[in-house]
Symmetry: C2
Subunit: 155 residues, 2 copies
DNA sequence: TATTGTTATACTCTATAACTATA
DNA sequence: TATAGTTATAGAGTATAACAATA
């Protein structure tokens, strides 16, 4: 039987034991992911880009002319969900969809000059953000090891 | 100028270069998190528990009699969002809210016998899931290192 | 028949503000 | 005044099914 009134009633609360859940990969990854998204948004608030938007711009910049479905797949999202994202980026004049010769189903994706310059600014935010991660992780060796482990878990 | 028709039209598509985004901590963590949640749901489909539900049951089991806000804080979610979760667990007869002497605002949380036995089954699913992660990560040393790095990034 | 982009839909997760009853 | 639980709401993120145009 728990003696609630004796144990928890007076101001000095006993520390909550979260040791077991804290050793769970799933639990820790969930918590850290949430933290990191929030931190990302702080660093990227100036350029007003969400993680997935930055990913899309960066991928299109490095792979101009690709189809929507290709970029979506590389980002790991459904092509259906990529449509609204592209509409938004296009409305902000950051990207454009060009028609593809010999395949009138596809749209080839490109950055606009505005998109290029916003991406340049975003890359500076990314550098700051990644530097923050680097410092928290404890150096480049730890960071590289972390990326290796993430990819192992992903595959 | 990109030569789309020459580059991408014939069946053999050039591999998409995602090397730069793949080196981003934020991007890799996002992708891996998504993968892992899906994998978790597969392992936990038999007990029909989502990650956060399993976390709640485990925390309550190890800290019986705690207030909702304490468990919610330990899980890293808002107490407002914890209400529906507790309602659901209670409707499934897994947990119960007892009144607390000397503080009629609070609810003390406990597992029911049904909750205890489901948790026992869930712990077996968790063991399988964590064993899967362990294997992917490459052993206990890698897994422990991974947890250390996740916590460093979280703090 | 298969693929591309698209629409619609639904469900989860999270964040915030405000209410109530208590302290 | 502050706290615990609650309600309501809104915004992301993701998954699925279905459709039209095109291959």
């Amino acid at each position: 039987m728990e003696k609630i009134s004796e144990t928890y009633e007076d101001g000095a609360e006993a520390a909550l034991d979260a040791s077991r859940v804290a050793q769970s990969v799933a639990h820790q990854l969930r918590r850290t992911h949430g933290q990191l998204v929030g931190r990302f948004l702080l660093y990227f608030s100036k350029v007003n880009l969400r993680p997935i938007e930055f990913g899309a711009l960066a991928l299109i910049a490095e792979n101009p002319g690709r189809k929507q479905s290709q970029i979506a797949a590389a980002l790991g999202i459904q092509r259906a969900n990529f449509v609204a994202l592209m509409n938004d980026l296009e409305n902000r004049c950051l990207t454009e969809r060009r028609s593809v010769p010999n395949d009138r189903r596809s749209h080839a994706l490109y950055l606009t000059p505005t998109g290029e310059s916003l991406l340049a600014e975003a890359r500076r935010a990314e550098a700051d953000f990644e530097a923050d991660c680097l410092e928290r992780l404890g150096g480049t060796r730890a960071r590289d090891q972390f990326l290796v482990l993430l990819r192992r878990l992903f595959g």
